[in-house]
């Protein structure tokens, strides 16, 4: 097939060697002398746990962050700068996880947004843009679309391809970075994306493919770099499904130490004999469906799943922030209405994943945040009693070792770990019985993490039911009694922690076997 159109041409692939890249943020060394070596025309995979430094290196490649130290060689030449314009100029294009498309723009308008073709009078060359967009989508990405179609009428995979076309239409892309490209896609749609990516490779473009889904990584990549704690720990040639265990071992690379407290011995029968909280065929009609499990008093129950697995939506649904469409939740056998205020009244509480937005009122003092959900208990006839409020807040701050000790400090000024303790303190004040912890240790330093784990275990040993939703497999294994595995909105199995390794759990959530759950 002839390809006479300029739009369908692509520049030759880039060889990129990054060595000793360092990037430090206050209190965190996100990249610690990391190497990443991408050959011309290959699909190079990048994997690692949350916090391993993957997104930091993507942001350095995009020029969002400047590296503190380290060299970048592009086709053998030292790259002095690192600004967004420099990275763009050498042909690096980032396909971000978020689509960022305007719903009521057409395909052609979206592809050329910000790089519109003009005619010789300076007007928009609409017909030409439409033709070029259609040709690029058809010939390079194998996605024949009408350029006049509105984005909102496209499927998610097609939108992803439009996003890719927009990044590559100028024909100067030489290294394309895909950041979790399949996260929003249903199983059947990933094939189209892979075809497009293989097509780009066939045309000589270099590709960096970043994904949590190890099944995809071994499927599509020529080589894989594994990051751990801000460093490269391994580069694997010719990955294939038999090597996923090896990749997982590299990703974790450590034994579970005494970060996690020991669990009280509990038998499986004990858990099912005393159900305190049961979820029956819960679904929101979009992100998760048909989720059922039942929990006992004193149990810590984990929910594992990747970004886009429906884990966040399930948590929001259980708390009533986004009421589920189907199914029901029962408390001691009786169905409950899912609504945050009712939940708090009945002792079901949420420690949200975005604590600065949803967990705390940052401008209010620690004491106000701790008392916020149970103000009536520190007041008389609706009038606040400062002394009682402060006394209770101080008692909880002492119990939880919240620093600084002064409960008059604004919550926004506390560190992540202390903020999380304030949220927990609020629910202790409200005498909650079922704790829903969503990513409880994101942005929490290691010391405070151990304290939070100990606290959670104490809550459970004291008879509370705890649900922990986390993307950190080690955390779930270390903390929970049982773990539900969500893959693309389906609860595929519930595993007992004694019976599974971190590798095994990651293999299940990452769908390493490649058996995608049809949706």
């Amino acid at each position: 097939m002839p390809l006479p159109l300029a739009a369908a041409s692509l520049a030759p692939g880039l060889t990129l060697a990054m060595t000793g890249i360092v990037k430090t943020f206050p209190g965190v060394r996100a990249l610690d002398a990391a190497d990443l070596d991408i050959r011309a025309g290959e699909i190079h995979g990048l994997v690692g746990e949350n916090g391993a430094g993957k997104s930091t290196i993507i942001k350095i490649l995009g020029g969002v962050y400047a590296r503190d130290a380290g060299d970048i060689l592009a086709n053998g030449e030292v790259l002095a700068g690192g600004a967004a314009a420099d990275m763009h100029a050498i042909g690096i294009r980032i396909i971000h996880q978020e689509l960022n498309l305007v719903d009521h723009f057409t395909v052609a308008e979206s592809v050329f947004l910000g790089q519109e073709r003009t005619d010789r009078f300076g007007g928009l060359a609409k017909r030409r843009m439409r033709r070029e967009a259609e040709a690029f989508l058809r010939d390079v990405l194998e996605c024949p679309l009408d350029g006049q179609t509105l984005i909102r009428d496209l499927g998610i995979a097609e939108r992803k391809l439009v996003q890719i076309a927009a990044a590559l239409i100028d024909g100067k892309a030489r290294l394309v970075v895909f950041d979790e490209p399949t996260a929003p896609l249903a199983a059947a749609e990933t094939g189209r994306l892979f075809n497009a990516i293989r097509n780009l490779k066939a045309r000589g473009v270099s590709i960096l493919y970043v994904s949590h889904y190890l099944g995809e990584i071994v499927d599509i990549c020529d080589r894989v770099t594994v990051f751990r704690n801000g460093r490269h720990v391994a580069v694997l040639d010719a990955p294939n499904p038999t090597r996923t265990d090896e990749i997982i071992t590299w990703m974790i690379g450590r034994q579970l130490d005494d970060l996690y407290p020991a669990a009280a011995v509990r038998t499986a029968d004990g858990i099912e004999a005393e159900p305190s909280f049961a979820v029956e065929r819960l679904g929101d009609g979009r992100s998760f469906a048909d989720v059922s499990f039942s929990l006992a008093k004193g149990e810590i129950f984990g929910i594992a799943g990747l970004i886009g697995s429906g884990r966040d939506e399930l948590v929001d649904g259980l708390y009533g922030l986004r009421p589920p469409a189907t199914g029901r939740v029962t408390r001691a056998g009786r169905p409950i209405r899912l609504d945050p205020a009712l939940a708090v009244q009945s002792g079901l509480v949420l420690v949200p994943r975005d604590r600065r937005r949803d967990g705390l009122v940052l401008d209010l003092a620690v004491t106000d945040n701790i008392n916020l959900a149970s103000l009536d208990e520190v007041s008389t006839a609706g009038f606040r009693r400062e002394r009682r409020a402060n006394a209770r807040a101080t008692r909880l701050a002492d119990l939880l070792d919240i620093r600084p000790r002064s409960v008059g400090t604004r919550a926004g000024l506390l560190s992540g770990g202390n903020q999380q303790k304030v949220v927990l303190g609020r629910w202790l004040a409200a005498e909650a019985e079922i704790f829903l912890l969503d990513e409880p240790t994101i942005g929490v330093d290691i010391g405070a993490r151990a304290e939070i784990y100990r606290l959670v275990r104490e809550l459970a040993d004291g008879g509370a039911t705890v649900i922990v939703s986390s993307g950190d497999a080690a955390e779930l294994i270390g903390l929970c009694d049982r773990i539900a595995v969500l893959v693309r909105g389906k609860l595929v199995e519930i595993v007992r922690c004694g019976e599974i390794s971190v590798d095994g759990l990651i293999a299940r959530t990452t769908d390493a076997a490649g058996q995608r759950v049809a949706s």
């Binding site: 708390y319 939940a343 106000d368 916020l372 007041s379 609706g382 609020r426």
Partner: protein, 320 residues
């Protein structure tokens, strides 16, 4: 962004600068116009600020909850007209008339609550709609906007504006009661605490189990009802209902609330600040009047004070 650094002593100065400017204005006016400091004149300032204070306090509650109310004028007018209907058409005693006023204005607030909480319309647009609808109702009711006079008003009602307690004009007493009520509500009750949380971070408030919608509805109804007291004072003073009279308080009330917020360490709407803002505007109006300056200057000066206060607050934010 690199902000220019400010010396350390500047921050406290900025924080209190508005009070310093108010004192400077008082000194300036008392030198320039000796009549300014006469006790009767100072009382006049307070008296003429009473209605604005009531409306501005209602606005403070609403802005603290994260909203805005462009229909406070309608609430004032509904308060006035419901009181007059009770007095004139039903011969009701003054306290029933007040109750009618509160109920009439609460209807306006309830309509706002329905739009904002029930239908999810943003407060700015919802109350703009209420303003249009309410204004039109008044025009229709008065056959085009003419005032409805009621000369033989019951003395008990008349005293709400013309009377006094121990020499203090009744309007000031009413405004002071409302002031104390709002202070207790916003700064001392659980309800006020929750309203502040909602205004700061509505999502966090929801996660904390606060019924955000219910609180916002109460805020709008309560604020509208308290505006009715302003309408009662207006009706009693003029012995008539003047359609759309309440509208003139809207912008001053917003200005006073934000002038007041600018003195708060965290720039939050607050009751003492709103009182200061109202007094600021009252002093400026009165002083210009006594100096015989063009009254049209008043708006310009009010605007300058507002943007000045906000600019100072911005500088303070930078000074840390």
């Amino acid at each position: 962004m690199t902000a220019f650094a400010l010396p350390r002593f500047v921050a406290p100065l900025l924080r209190h600068s508005l009070i310093l400017i108010l004192i400077a204005l008082l000194v300036f006016f008392s030198i320039q116009a000796p009549a300014f400091t006469a006790p009767t004149n100072l009382l006049t300032i307070l008296e003429s600020s009473a209605v604005l204070l009531i409306v501005a306090l209602a606005m403070t509650l609403i802005i603290a909850s994260g909203g805005i109310d462009l229909s406070v004028g309608v609430a004032i007018d509904f308060g006035a007209v419901f009181a007059l209907i009770a007095l004139k058409d039903f011969g009701a005693p003054w306290y029933v008339a007040i109750f009618a006023a509160l109920a009439g204005a609460a209807l306006v607030g309830a309509f706002n609550a329905l739009l904002i909480v029930g239908l999810g319309i943003r407060p700015f647009l919802a109350t703009l709609g209420t303003f249009f609808i309410g204004s039109s109702i008044q025009r229709i009711y008065t056959d085009g906007g003419g005032p409805i006079a009621f000369r033989r008003m019951e003395q008990g009602f008349r005293d709400l504006a013309a009377g006094n307690i121990a020499g203090i004009p009744m309007e000031i007493v009413i405004a002071a009661v409302v002031l104390v009520g709002y202070y207790l509500l916003l700064e001392r009750t659980n309800f006020g605490q929750r309203v502040h949380a909602i205004g700061l971070q509505p999502r966090a408030a929801r996660v904390a189990g606060i019924r955000v919608g219910r609180h916002v509805a109460v805020v709008f109804i309560l604020a509208a009802a308290s505006c009715a007291l302003g309408g009662v004072i207006l009706a009693a003073t003029l012995r008539q209902f003047t359609p759309l009279a309440g509208q003139s308080y809207l912008l001053d009330a917003i200005a006073a609330t934000f002038i007041g917020a600018s003195i708060h360490p965290r720039l939050r709407p607050n009751v003492p600040g709103t009182l200061l803002g109202v007094l600021f505007l009252g002093v400026v109006a009165n002083g210009l009047n006594l100096l015989g300056l063009d009254f049209n200057l008043k708006s310009a000066l009010s605007g300058l004070i507002l943007v000045g206060a906000l600019a100072l607050a911005g500088l303070r934010g930078r000074a840390g």
